[in-house]
Protein backbone atom coordinates (compact mmCIF):
# COMPACT_ATOMS: atom_id res chain seq x y z
CA UNK A 1 0.00 0.00 0.00
CA UNK A 2 2.57 2.43 1.16
CA UNK A 3 4.92 1.41 -1.63
CA UNK A 4 2.34 1.58 -4.35
CA UNK A 5 3.13 3.94 -7.17
CA UNK A 6 0.77 5.63 -9.57
CA UNK A 7 1.38 5.01 -13.26
CA UNK A 8 2.87 8.45 -13.65
CA UNK A 9 5.26 7.91 -10.76
CA UNK A 10 6.32 4.59 -12.21
CA UNK A 11 7.09 6.19 -15.55
CA UNK A 12 9.06 8.89 -13.77
CA UNK A 13 11.01 6.32 -11.79
CA UNK A 14 11.89 4.29 -14.86
CA UNK A 15 12.95 7.41 -16.73
CA UNK A 16 15.19 8.32 -13.80
CA UNK A 17 16.69 4.84 -13.73
CA UNK A 18 17.20 4.92 -17.49
CA UNK A 19 19.03 8.26 -17.33
CA UNK A 20 21.17 7.06 -14.47
CA UNK A 21 22.06 3.84 -16.27
CA UNK A 22 22.77 5.76 -19.45
CA UNK A 23 25.43 7.77 -17.64
CA UNK A 24 26.91 4.66 -16.05
CA UNK A 25 26.96 2.55 -19.20
CA UNK A 26 27.51 5.08 -21.99
CA UNK A 27 31.30 4.62 -22.16
CA UNK A 28 30.89 0.87 -22.49
CA UNK A 29 28.35 1.18 -25.27
CA UNK A 30 30.62 3.63 -27.04
CA UNK A 31 33.63 1.36 -26.63
CA UNK A 32 31.71 -1.59 -27.96
CA UNK A 33 30.44 0.31 -31.00
CA UNK A 34 33.90 1.67 -31.70
CA UNK A 35 35.39 -1.81 -31.50
CA UNK A 36 32.99 -2.98 -34.21
CA UNK A 37 33.85 -0.30 -36.73
CA UNK A 38 36.57 -0.73 -39.33
CA UNK A 39 39.39 1.67 -38.60
CA UNK A 40 38.87 3.80 -41.70
CA UNK A 41 35.22 4.33 -40.80
CA UNK A 42 35.89 5.24 -37.20
CA UNK A 43 36.66 8.82 -37.96
CA UNK A 44 33.59 9.51 -40.01
CA UNK A 45 32.16 12.93 -39.58
CA UNK A 46 29.36 13.80 -38.98
CA UNK A 47 28.85 11.37 -36.19
CA UNK A 48 26.77 8.25 -36.86
CA UNK A 49 25.49 6.11 -34.07
CA UNK A 50 24.69 3.12 -36.25
CA UNK A 51 26.41 2.06 -39.42
CA UNK A 52 26.08 -1.04 -41.55
CA UNK A 53 29.72 -2.01 -41.67
CA UNK A 54 30.02 -3.47 -38.19
CA UNK A 55 32.37 -6.41 -37.90
CA UNK A 56 34.23 -8.31 -35.26
CA UNK A 57 37.54 -8.11 -37.14
CA UNK A 58 39.19 -6.02 -34.46
CA UNK A 59 38.74 -8.83 -31.96
CA UNK A 60 40.93 -11.14 -33.99
CA UNK A 61 43.38 -8.58 -35.37
CA UNK A 62 44.23 -7.07 -31.99
CA UNK A 63 46.29 -10.12 -31.02
CA UNK A 64 48.59 -9.42 -33.98
CA UNK A 65 48.90 -5.68 -33.45
CA UNK A 66 49.96 -6.16 -29.86
CA UNK A 67 51.48 -9.64 -29.69
CA UNK A 68 51.82 -9.51 -25.91
CA UNK A 69 48.14 -8.76 -25.34
CA UNK A 70 47.37 -12.21 -23.99
CA UNK A 71 50.29 -11.93 -21.67
CA UNK A 72 49.08 -8.55 -20.40
CA UNK A 73 45.67 -9.93 -19.57
CA UNK A 74 47.28 -12.89 -17.84
CA UNK A 75 49.55 -10.51 -15.90
CA UNK A 76 46.57 -8.46 -14.77
CA UNK A 77 44.77 -11.52 -13.47
CA UNK A 78 47.94 -12.98 -11.96
CA UNK A 79 48.89 -9.78 -10.13
CA UNK A 80 45.37 -9.25 -8.82
CA UNK A 81 45.13 -12.88 -7.70
CA UNK A 82 48.48 -12.71 -5.93
CA UNK A 83 47.53 -9.47 -4.23
CA UNK A 84 44.32 -11.12 -3.07
CA UNK A 85 46.12 -14.16 -1.73
CA UNK A 86 48.71 -12.22 0.24
CA UNK A 87 46.23 -9.64 1.48
CA UNK A 88 44.01 -12.38 2.90
CA UNK A 89 47.04 -13.96 4.52
CA UNK A 90 47.63 -10.73 6.43
CA UNK A 91 44.03 -9.72 6.93
CA UNK A 92 42.49 -12.91 8.31
CA UNK A 93 44.49 -13.11 11.55
CA UNK A 94 44.48 -9.36 12.11
CA UNK A 95 40.76 -8.91 11.64
CA UNK A 96 40.10 -11.86 13.93
CA UNK A 97 42.12 -10.11 16.61
CA UNK A 98 40.13 -6.91 16.15
CA UNK A 99 36.80 -8.71 16.09
CA UNK A 100 37.28 -10.99 19.08
CA UNK A 101 40.23 -10.26 21.30
CA UNK A 102 40.94 -7.55 23.81
CA UNK A 103 44.40 -6.06 23.81
CA UNK A 104 46.13 -2.77 24.57
CA UNK A 105 46.20 -0.12 21.84
CA UNK A 106 43.37 -1.90 20.05
CA UNK A 107 41.43 1.21 19.04
CA UNK A 108 44.56 3.21 18.36
CA UNK A 109 46.15 0.62 16.11
CA UNK A 110 42.89 0.09 14.25
CA UNK A 111 42.62 3.78 13.46
CA UNK A 112 46.29 3.65 12.51
CA UNK A 113 45.44 1.03 9.93
CA UNK A 114 42.54 3.02 8.60
CA UNK A 115 44.72 6.11 8.47
CA UNK A 116 46.76 4.36 5.80
CA UNK A 117 43.77 4.91 3.53
CA UNK A 118 44.61 8.60 3.67
CA UNK A 119 47.75 8.08 1.67
CA UNK A 120 46.70 6.58 -1.57
CA UNK A 121 49.57 4.96 -3.40
CA UNK A 122 50.17 8.01 -5.53
CA UNK A 123 51.32 10.11 -2.58
CA UNK A 124 54.04 7.70 -1.59
CA UNK A 125 55.37 6.87 -5.03
CA UNK A 126 58.77 8.52 -4.70
CA UNK A 127 59.88 6.97 -1.42
CA UNK A 128 58.14 3.73 -2.28
CA UNK A 129 60.23 3.64 -5.41
CA UNK A 130 63.35 3.88 -3.29
CA UNK A 131 62.15 1.33 -0.77
CA UNK A 132 61.39 -1.15 -3.52
CA UNK A 133 64.77 -0.45 -5.04
CA UNK A 134 66.45 -1.08 -1.71
CA UNK A 135 64.58 -4.36 -1.38
CA UNK A 136 65.54 -5.19 -4.96
CA UNK A 137 61.95 -5.60 -6.11
CA UNK A 138 61.77 -3.12 -8.98
CA UNK A 139 60.82 -4.43 -12.42
CA UNK A 140 59.30 -7.62 -11.15
CA UNK A 141 55.81 -8.85 -10.33
CA UNK A 142 56.61 -8.04 -6.71
CA UNK A 143 56.96 -4.36 -7.56
CA UNK A 144 53.24 -4.34 -8.33
CA UNK A 145 52.09 -6.91 -5.79
CA UNK A 146 53.77 -5.57 -2.66
CA UNK A 147 52.36 -2.01 -2.73
CA UNK A 148 49.00 -3.38 -3.82
CA UNK A 149 48.85 -5.61 -0.76
CA UNK A 150 49.95 -2.84 1.59
CA UNK A 151 47.22 -0.45 0.54
CA UNK A 152 44.51 -3.11 0.67
CA UNK A 153 45.26 -4.50 4.12
CA UNK A 154 43.38 -1.70 5.95
CA UNK A 155 40.24 -2.08 3.85
CA UNK A 156 40.42 -5.84 4.21
CA UNK A 157 40.70 -5.68 7.99
CA UNK A 158 37.80 -3.24 8.12
CA UNK A 159 35.49 -5.42 6.05
CA UNK A 160 36.37 -8.80 7.51
CA UNK A 161 36.23 -7.55 11.08
CA UNK A 162 32.63 -6.44 10.54
CA UNK A 163 31.81 -9.89 9.23
CA UNK A 164 33.58 -11.83 11.96
CA UNK A 165 31.83 -9.86 14.67
CA UNK A 166 28.55 -11.30 13.47
CA UNK A 167 29.59 -14.92 13.94
CA UNK A 168 28.22 -16.16 17.26
CA UNK A 169 30.90 -16.34 19.89
CA UNK A 170 29.45 -19.47 21.50
CA UNK A 171 30.88 -21.82 18.87
CA UNK A 172 34.39 -20.68 19.54
CA UNK A 173 33.85 -20.87 23.27
CA UNK A 174 32.59 -24.42 22.90
CA UNK A 175 35.70 -25.43 20.97
CA UNK A 176 37.83 -23.65 23.51
CA UNK A 177 36.26 -25.46 26.43
CA UNK A 178 36.68 -28.75 24.60
CA UNK A 179 40.40 -28.18 24.73
CA UNK A 180 41.13 -26.72 21.31
CA UNK A 181 43.99 -24.28 21.16
CA UNK A 182 43.44 -20.74 19.94
CA UNK A 183 45.21 -21.38 16.65
CA UNK A 184 43.19 -24.56 16.12
CA UNK A 185 39.94 -22.76 16.91
CA UNK A 186 40.77 -20.02 14.44
CA UNK A 187 41.64 -22.47 11.70
CA UNK A 188 39.00 -25.13 12.17
CA UNK A 189 36.04 -23.26 13.66
CA UNK A 190 36.22 -19.61 12.71
CA UNK A 191 37.56 -19.84 9.17
CA UNK A 192 34.95 -22.29 7.84
CA UNK A 193 32.20 -20.16 9.33
CA UNK A 194 33.70 -17.04 7.85
CA UNK A 195 33.85 -18.38 4.29
CA UNK A 196 31.14 -16.04 2.91
CA UNK A 197 32.94 -13.11 4.49
CA UNK A 198 36.23 -14.30 3.05
CA UNK A 199 34.63 -14.42 -0.38
CA UNK A 200 33.41 -10.86 -0.03
CA UNK A 201 36.78 -9.56 1.08
CA UNK A 202 38.59 -11.65 -1.49
CA UNK A 203 36.47 -10.42 -4.37
CA UNK A 204 36.65 -6.81 -3.20
CA UNK A 205 40.40 -7.03 -2.93
CA UNK A 206 40.65 -8.74 -6.30
CA UNK A 207 38.54 -6.12 -8.05
CA UNK A 208 40.38 -3.24 -6.42
CA UNK A 209 43.74 -4.80 -7.16
CA UNK A 210 42.70 -5.36 -10.75
CA UNK A 211 41.58 -1.74 -10.97
CA UNK A 212 44.52 -0.08 -9.30
CA UNK A 213 47.48 -1.69 -11.01
CA UNK A 214 48.03 1.17 -13.38
CA UNK A 215 50.02 3.63 -11.31
CA UNK A 216 52.29 1.00 -9.72
CA UNK A 217 52.84 -0.62 -13.08
CA UNK A 218 53.87 2.53 -14.92
CA UNK A 219 56.09 3.67 -12.07
CA UNK A 220 57.76 0.56 -10.68
CA UNK A 221 57.94 -1.74 -13.65
CA UNK A 222 59.77 -1.24 -16.93
CA UNK A 223 59.73 -4.85 -18.00
CA UNK A 224 57.28 -5.13 -20.86
CA UNK A 225 56.52 -8.80 -20.39
CA UNK A 226 55.30 -8.14 -16.87
CA UNK A 227 52.98 -5.20 -17.56
CA UNK A 228 49.30 -5.56 -16.69
CA UNK A 229 46.64 -4.76 -19.24
CA UNK A 230 45.85 -1.13 -18.31
CA UNK A 231 49.48 -0.24 -18.98
CA UNK A 232 49.84 -2.55 -21.97
CA UNK A 233 46.76 -1.06 -23.60
CA UNK A 234 48.75 2.01 -24.46
CA UNK A 235 50.74 0.05 -26.97
CA UNK A 236 47.85 0.44 -29.37
CA UNK A 237 48.85 4.07 -29.49
CA UNK A 238 51.56 3.50 -32.05
CA UNK A 239 54.12 5.77 -33.68
CA UNK A 240 52.10 6.20 -36.84
CA UNK A 241 48.51 5.75 -35.86
CA UNK A 242 46.25 4.60 -33.09
CA UNK A 243 44.28 1.47 -33.84
CA UNK A 244 41.37 2.65 -31.76
CA UNK A 245 38.99 -0.12 -32.69
CA UNK A 246 41.43 -2.81 -31.60
CA UNK A 247 42.28 -0.88 -28.44
CA UNK A 248 38.59 -0.79 -27.51
CA UNK A 249 38.21 -4.48 -28.30
CA UNK A 250 41.23 -5.30 -26.15
CA UNK A 251 39.91 -3.16 -23.31
CA UNK A 252 36.57 -4.93 -23.37
CA UNK A 253 38.13 -8.38 -23.55
CA UNK A 254 40.51 -7.38 -20.77
CA UNK A 255 37.75 -6.55 -18.34
CA UNK A 256 35.94 -9.82 -18.99
CA UNK A 257 37.68 -11.82 -16.24
CA UNK A 258 36.80 -9.34 -13.55
CA UNK A 259 33.28 -8.78 -14.90
CA UNK A 260 32.59 -12.51 -14.86
CA UNK A 261 33.79 -12.81 -11.29
CA UNK A 262 31.67 -9.84 -10.33
CA UNK A 263 28.54 -11.17 -11.99
CA UNK A 264 28.78 -14.53 -10.29
CA UNK A 265 29.53 -13.17 -6.86
CA UNK A 266 27.75 -9.81 -6.90
CA UNK A 267 25.03 -10.98 -4.55
CA UNK A 268 27.52 -11.72 -1.77
CA UNK A 269 29.62 -8.79 -2.66
CA UNK A 270 26.96 -6.11 -2.43
CA UNK A 271 25.60 -7.53 0.80
CA UNK A 272 29.02 -7.94 2.36
CA UNK A 273 30.45 -4.59 1.35
CA UNK A 274 27.58 -2.71 2.82
CA UNK A 275 27.49 -4.74 6.03
CA UNK A 276 30.63 -3.00 7.20
CA UNK A 277 29.32 0.43 6.42
CA UNK A 278 25.87 0.32 7.88
CA UNK A 279 26.77 -1.27 11.15
CA UNK A 280 26.90 1.92 13.13
Amino acid sequence: MMDKYTKLQLIGLYCGVALFLLFMLLPFVEMFLASLRPLEHLFRSPYQLWSDDFSFDAYSKMWETVPLLGRYIFNSVFIAASVTFFTLLFVVPASYAYARLEFPYKAASLSGFLGVNMFAGAVLLIPLYRVLRTLGLLNSYWAMIVPGVAFLIPTGIWLLRAYLEKIPKELEEAAYVDGASRVYTLRRVVLPLATPGLIVVGVTVFITAYAQQFIFAITFNQTRELQPLPAGLYEFIGYQSVTWNEMMAAALVGVLPVMIIFLFLQRYLIAGLTAGAVKE
Binding site: G16, F90, A97, V123, P127, R130, V131, S181, V183, L273
Partner: protein, 326 residues
Protein backbone atom coordinates in the same frame (compact mmCIF):
# COMPACT_ATOMS: atom_id res chain seq x y z
CA UNK B 1 57.52 2.46 17.73
CA UNK B 2 55.74 1.18 20.78
CA UNK B 3 53.82 -1.08 18.53
CA UNK B 4 56.93 -2.47 16.94
CA UNK B 5 58.40 -3.45 20.31
CA UNK B 6 55.30 -5.12 21.57
CA UNK B 7 54.94 -7.03 18.36
CA UNK B 8 58.40 -8.48 18.61
CA UNK B 9 57.61 -9.76 22.05
CA UNK B 10 54.37 -11.09 20.66
CA UNK B 11 56.13 -13.17 18.10
CA UNK B 12 58.56 -14.60 20.61
CA UNK B 13 55.92 -15.68 23.03
CA UNK B 14 54.03 -17.96 20.70
CA UNK B 15 55.33 -21.16 22.31
CA UNK B 16 54.59 -19.83 25.73
CA UNK B 17 51.12 -19.05 24.60
CA UNK B 18 50.43 -22.54 23.40
CA UNK B 19 51.70 -23.84 26.72
CA UNK B 20 49.35 -21.47 28.47
CA UNK B 21 46.47 -22.85 26.57
CA UNK B 22 47.33 -26.37 27.51
CA UNK B 23 47.76 -25.62 31.16
CA UNK B 24 44.45 -23.82 31.09
CA UNK B 25 42.69 -26.73 29.51
CA UNK B 26 44.33 -29.30 31.73
CA UNK B 27 43.70 -27.52 34.96
CA UNK B 28 40.64 -25.45 34.21
CA UNK B 29 42.11 -22.70 36.37
CA UNK B 30 44.60 -19.88 35.90
CA UNK B 31 42.08 -17.54 34.39
CA UNK B 32 44.49 -14.71 34.79
CA UNK B 33 47.21 -16.20 32.62
CA UNK B 34 44.79 -16.93 29.83
CA UNK B 35 43.78 -13.26 29.76
CA UNK B 36 47.42 -12.38 29.41
CA UNK B 37 47.82 -14.82 26.57
CA UNK B 38 44.83 -13.29 24.82
CA UNK B 39 46.83 -10.09 24.59
CA UNK B 40 49.90 -11.85 23.21
CA UNK B 41 47.81 -13.90 20.86
CA UNK B 42 46.27 -10.69 19.49
CA UNK B 43 49.67 -9.10 19.03
CA UNK B 44 50.85 -12.21 17.28
CA UNK B 45 47.89 -12.02 14.91
CA UNK B 46 48.25 -8.39 13.97
CA UNK B 47 52.06 -8.37 13.95
CA UNK B 48 52.49 -9.36 10.29
CA UNK B 49 50.16 -6.62 9.07
CA UNK B 50 51.71 -3.98 11.30
CA UNK B 51 55.19 -4.98 10.32
CA UNK B 52 54.38 -5.01 6.63
CA UNK B 53 52.74 -1.60 6.72
CA UNK B 54 55.63 -0.18 8.72
CA UNK B 55 57.93 -1.12 5.86
CA UNK B 56 55.72 -0.21 2.91
CA UNK B 57 53.90 2.82 4.31
CA UNK B 58 55.56 4.20 7.42
CA UNK B 59 59.12 3.96 6.21
CA UNK B 60 58.37 5.73 2.91
CA UNK B 61 56.49 8.40 4.86
CA UNK B 62 59.47 9.03 7.10
CA UNK B 63 61.70 8.99 4.07
CA UNK B 64 59.46 11.56 2.39
CA UNK B 65 59.77 13.86 5.36
CA UNK B 66 63.55 13.58 5.23
CA UNK B 67 63.69 14.06 1.47
CA UNK B 68 61.56 17.19 1.68
CA UNK B 69 64.51 18.97 3.31
CA UNK B 70 66.88 17.84 0.60
CA UNK B 71 67.74 18.78 -2.88
CA UNK B 72 67.51 15.29 -4.27
CA UNK B 73 67.56 13.89 -7.75
CA UNK B 74 69.20 11.12 -9.66
CA UNK B 75 72.63 12.61 -8.93
CA UNK B 76 72.54 12.70 -5.16
CA UNK B 77 71.26 14.56 -2.16
CA UNK B 78 72.13 17.77 -0.41
CA UNK B 79 70.53 19.28 2.65
CA UNK B 80 68.75 22.54 1.88
CA UNK B 81 66.60 23.09 4.95
CA UNK B 82 63.21 24.61 4.31
CA UNK B 83 64.06 25.78 0.81
CA UNK B 84 61.65 23.39 -0.91
CA UNK B 85 58.81 24.55 1.31
CA UNK B 86 59.75 28.17 0.82
CA UNK B 87 59.62 27.71 -2.94
CA UNK B 88 56.15 26.27 -2.63
CA UNK B 89 54.97 29.09 -0.38
CA UNK B 90 56.17 31.66 -2.87
CA UNK B 91 55.03 29.92 -6.01
CA UNK B 92 51.85 31.38 -7.37
CA UNK B 93 51.38 28.40 -9.60
CA UNK B 94 51.39 26.13 -6.58
CA UNK B 95 48.76 28.24 -4.82
CA UNK B 96 46.56 27.92 -7.86
CA UNK B 97 47.08 24.19 -7.85
CA UNK B 98 46.04 23.97 -4.20
CA UNK B 99 42.89 25.98 -4.87
CA UNK B 100 42.15 23.96 -7.98
CA UNK B 101 42.56 20.71 -6.06
CA UNK B 102 40.06 21.76 -3.41
CA UNK B 103 37.68 22.99 -6.07
CA UNK B 104 38.08 19.66 -7.85
CA UNK B 105 37.40 17.81 -4.63
CA UNK B 106 34.35 19.81 -3.57
CA UNK B 107 32.78 19.77 -7.00
CA UNK B 108 33.40 16.10 -7.63
CA UNK B 109 32.39 14.92 -4.16
CA UNK B 110 29.20 17.01 -4.15
CA UNK B 111 28.21 15.59 -7.50
CA UNK B 112 29.05 12.06 -6.39
CA UNK B 113 26.99 12.43 -3.24
CA UNK B 114 24.08 14.04 -5.06
CA UNK B 115 24.03 11.49 -7.87
CA UNK B 116 24.68 8.69 -5.42
CA UNK B 117 21.71 9.78 -3.33
CA UNK B 118 19.48 10.03 -6.39
CA UNK B 119 20.69 6.67 -7.64
CA UNK B 120 20.20 5.00 -4.28
CA UNK B 121 16.68 6.43 -4.00
CA UNK B 122 15.80 5.17 -7.46
CA UNK B 123 17.21 1.73 -6.78
CA UNK B 124 15.48 1.62 -3.42
CA UNK B 125 12.08 2.14 -4.99
CA UNK B 126 10.00 -1.03 -5.09
CA UNK B 127 9.84 -1.36 -8.86
CA UNK B 128 10.23 -4.50 -10.96
CA UNK B 129 13.76 -5.00 -12.26
CA UNK B 130 15.57 -3.24 -9.47
CA UNK B 131 17.82 -6.22 -8.74
CA UNK B 132 19.06 -5.99 -12.32
CA UNK B 133 19.53 -2.20 -12.11
CA UNK B 134 21.64 -2.64 -9.00
CA UNK B 135 24.02 -4.86 -10.90
CA UNK B 136 24.06 -2.59 -13.94
CA UNK B 137 25.29 0.48 -12.07
CA UNK B 138 28.39 -1.29 -10.81
CA UNK B 139 30.64 -1.69 -13.89
CA UNK B 140 32.35 1.71 -13.58
CA UNK B 141 33.59 0.61 -10.19
CA UNK B 142 34.39 -2.96 -11.18
CA UNK B 143 36.60 -2.28 -14.18
CA UNK B 144 40.07 -0.75 -13.95
CA UNK B 145 39.90 3.04 -13.95
CA UNK B 146 42.53 3.16 -16.65
CA UNK B 147 40.33 1.11 -18.96
CA UNK B 148 37.19 3.10 -18.27
CA UNK B 149 39.19 6.20 -19.13
CA UNK B 150 39.95 4.80 -22.57
CA UNK B 151 36.22 4.82 -23.21
CA UNK B 152 35.97 8.39 -21.99
CA UNK B 153 38.89 9.46 -24.18
CA UNK B 154 36.80 8.28 -27.08
CA UNK B 155 33.63 9.98 -25.87
CA UNK B 156 35.39 13.30 -25.43
CA UNK B 157 36.98 13.24 -28.86
CA UNK B 158 35.86 16.10 -31.04
CA UNK B 159 35.96 14.39 -34.43
CA UNK B 160 34.23 11.12 -33.75
CA UNK B 161 33.14 11.17 -30.11
CA UNK B 162 29.45 10.81 -29.36
CA UNK B 163 29.29 13.89 -27.14
CA UNK B 164 30.63 16.21 -29.79
CA UNK B 165 28.61 14.42 -32.47
CA UNK B 166 25.27 14.56 -30.70
CA UNK B 167 26.01 18.07 -29.48
CA UNK B 168 26.45 19.21 -33.06
CA UNK B 169 23.33 17.46 -34.29
CA UNK B 170 21.30 19.07 -31.54
CA UNK B 171 22.84 22.41 -32.39
CA UNK B 172 24.48 22.83 -28.99
CA UNK B 173 27.93 22.94 -30.57
CA UNK B 174 28.71 24.76 -33.78
CA UNK B 175 31.49 22.47 -34.88
CA UNK B 176 33.59 19.62 -33.52
CA UNK B 177 34.55 20.29 -29.93
CA UNK B 178 37.65 18.67 -28.48
CA UNK B 179 36.61 18.41 -24.87
CA UNK B 180 40.08 17.70 -23.60
CA UNK B 181 41.89 20.38 -25.59
CA UNK B 182 40.33 23.43 -23.96
CA UNK B 183 41.23 24.54 -20.48
CA UNK B 184 37.75 24.76 -19.03
CA UNK B 185 36.15 21.77 -20.69
CA UNK B 186 39.19 19.59 -19.96
CA UNK B 187 38.85 20.24 -16.25
CA UNK B 188 35.11 19.61 -16.18
CA UNK B 189 35.44 16.54 -18.39
CA UNK B 190 37.85 15.09 -15.86
CA UNK B 191 35.33 15.90 -13.11
CA UNK B 192 32.57 14.08 -15.00
CA UNK B 193 34.73 10.99 -15.42
CA UNK B 194 35.73 11.08 -11.78
CA UNK B 195 32.07 11.31 -10.77
CA UNK B 196 31.34 8.41 -13.09
CA UNK B 197 33.92 6.24 -11.35
CA UNK B 198 32.89 7.25 -7.83
CA UNK B 199 29.11 7.28 -8.01
CA UNK B 200 28.42 3.49 -8.02
CA UNK B 201 30.12 2.99 -4.68
CA UNK B 202 28.30 5.92 -3.08
CA UNK B 203 24.97 4.69 -4.46
CA UNK B 204 25.58 1.21 -3.16
CA UNK B 205 26.42 2.30 0.36
CA UNK B 206 23.59 4.81 0.57
CA UNK B 207 21.21 2.18 -0.75
CA UNK B 208 22.31 -0.24 1.95
CA UNK B 209 21.83 2.47 4.54
CA UNK B 210 18.33 3.19 3.26
CA UNK B 211 17.42 -0.45 3.52
CA UNK B 212 18.63 -0.47 7.08
CA UNK B 213 16.11 2.18 8.11
CA UNK B 214 13.37 0.77 10.29
CA UNK B 215 10.21 0.40 8.23
CA UNK B 216 7.99 1.14 11.20
CA UNK B 217 9.07 4.76 10.98
CA UNK B 218 7.73 5.00 7.44
CA UNK B 219 4.55 3.16 8.30
CA UNK B 220 3.88 5.48 11.21
CA UNK B 221 4.50 8.56 9.08
CA UNK B 222 2.39 7.11 6.29
CA UNK B 223 -0.52 6.46 8.64
CA UNK B 224 -0.24 10.06 9.74
CA UNK B 225 -0.63 11.10 6.12
CA UNK B 226 2.96 12.09 5.37
CA UNK B 227 3.76 12.16 1.65
CA UNK B 228 6.73 10.55 -0.05
CA UNK B 229 8.86 13.67 -0.21
CA UNK B 230 8.16 14.46 3.43
CA UNK B 231 9.07 10.94 4.48
CA UNK B 232 12.27 11.14 2.43
CA UNK B 233 13.26 14.47 3.94
CA UNK B 234 12.30 13.84 7.52
CA UNK B 235 12.98 10.12 7.91
CA UNK B 236 15.34 8.80 5.25
CA UNK B 237 17.84 11.65 5.21
CA UNK B 238 18.27 12.00 8.99
CA UNK B 239 18.42 8.23 9.39
CA UNK B 240 21.15 7.70 6.84
CA UNK B 241 23.03 10.88 7.79
CA UNK B 242 25.86 9.00 9.54
CA UNK B 243 26.52 6.98 6.39
CA UNK B 244 26.30 10.08 4.20
CA UNK B 245 28.93 11.93 6.21
CA UNK B 246 31.27 8.94 6.43
CA UNK B 247 30.94 8.33 2.71
CA UNK B 248 31.55 12.00 1.95
CA UNK B 249 34.80 12.01 3.89
CA UNK B 250 35.95 8.73 2.40
CA UNK B 251 35.05 9.95 -1.04
CA UNK B 252 36.77 13.30 -0.44
CA UNK B 253 40.07 11.65 0.45
CA UNK B 254 39.79 9.35 -2.52
CA UNK B 255 38.97 12.22 -4.89
CA UNK B 256 41.75 14.39 -3.54
CA UNK B 257 44.21 11.62 -4.34
CA UNK B 258 42.64 10.69 -7.66
CA UNK B 259 45.42 10.27 -10.18
CA UNK B 260 44.69 7.79 -12.97
CA UNK B 261 41.76 9.68 -14.43
CA UNK B 262 43.48 13.03 -14.82
CA UNK B 263 46.71 11.45 -15.91
CA UNK B 264 45.13 9.44 -18.69
CA UNK B 265 42.66 12.04 -19.89
CA UNK B 266 44.78 15.18 -19.84
CA UNK B 267 48.11 14.57 -18.08
CA UNK B 268 47.14 17.67 -16.10
CA UNK B 269 46.84 19.87 -19.18
CA UNK B 270 46.10 21.79 -21.23
CA UNK B 271 48.59 24.22 -19.76
CA UNK B 272 48.05 22.94 -16.24
CA UNK B 273 44.29 23.51 -16.30
CA UNK B 274 43.52 20.14 -14.79
CA UNK B 275 46.63 19.71 -12.64
CA UNK B 276 45.75 18.78 -9.09
CA UNK B 277 48.27 18.42 -6.28
CA UNK B 278 48.76 14.74 -6.85
CA UNK B 279 49.36 15.17 -10.59
CA UNK B 280 51.71 18.06 -9.91
CA UNK B 281 53.65 15.94 -7.43
CA UNK B 282 53.91 13.10 -9.89
CA UNK B 283 55.15 15.38 -12.64
CA UNK B 284 57.77 17.00 -10.44
CA UNK B 285 59.02 13.89 -8.69
CA UNK B 286 58.69 11.07 -11.19
CA UNK B 287 58.60 13.08 -14.40
CA UNK B 288 61.46 15.44 -13.64
CA UNK B 289 63.32 13.41 -10.99
CA UNK B 290 63.11 16.28 -8.49
CA UNK B 291 62.60 14.00 -5.51
CA UNK B 292 63.13 16.68 -2.87
CA UNK B 293 60.63 19.12 -4.31
CA UNK B 294 58.17 16.29 -4.86
CA UNK B 295 58.57 15.14 -1.28
CA UNK B 296 57.81 18.62 0.04
CA UNK B 297 54.60 18.54 -1.97
CA UNK B 298 53.69 15.18 -0.49
CA UNK B 299 54.18 16.55 3.02
CA UNK B 300 51.92 19.49 2.13
CA UNK B 301 49.30 17.10 0.74
CA UNK B 302 49.34 14.96 3.87
CA UNK B 303 49.06 18.03 6.09
CA UNK B 304 46.24 19.51 4.04
CA UNK B 305 44.34 16.23 4.11
CA UNK B 306 44.97 15.83 7.82
CA UNK B 307 43.70 19.34 8.57
CA UNK B 308 40.73 18.85 6.28
CA UNK B 309 39.77 15.53 7.87
CA UNK B 310 40.09 16.89 11.43
CA UNK B 311 38.07 20.02 10.69
CA UNK B 312 35.48 17.91 8.97
CA UNK B 313 35.18 15.49 11.88
CA UNK B 314 35.00 18.38 14.33
CA UNK B 315 32.25 20.20 12.46
CA UNK B 316 30.51 16.92 11.93
CA UNK B 317 30.49 16.03 15.60
CA UNK B 318 28.84 19.37 16.34
CA UNK B 319 26.37 19.01 13.51
CA UNK B 320 25.35 15.49 14.42
CA UNK B 321 24.94 16.40 18.07
CA UNK B 322 22.77 19.32 17.10
CA UNK B 323 20.45 17.14 15.08
CA UNK B 324 20.59 14.36 17.60
CA UNK B 325 21.46 11.64 15.12
CA UNK B 326 24.15 10.02 17.21
Amino acid sequence: MIRLESLNVGELSLDKLVLNEESFVAGGRKRKRSVLSEKWFAFFLIAPSVFFLLIIVAWPLAETLRLSFMKAGLGGEAFVGFENYQDLLESKKFHQTVIRTFYWMFLSVSLKMLLGLIGATLLNAAIPGRALFRVLIMPPWVIPIAIGCVGWLWLYNGQFGVLSGVGQQLGLLDGPHEFLAHKKSAFYSAVVTDVWVGTPMVSLFLLAAMQGVNRDLYEAAWVDGAGRWYRFRRITIPQIMPVIVTMALYSAIFTFNSFDIIWILTQGGPRGASTTLIVDTYKVAIGNYKFGEGAARVVVIVMLLGVFASVYMLLLGKLLRKYGTK
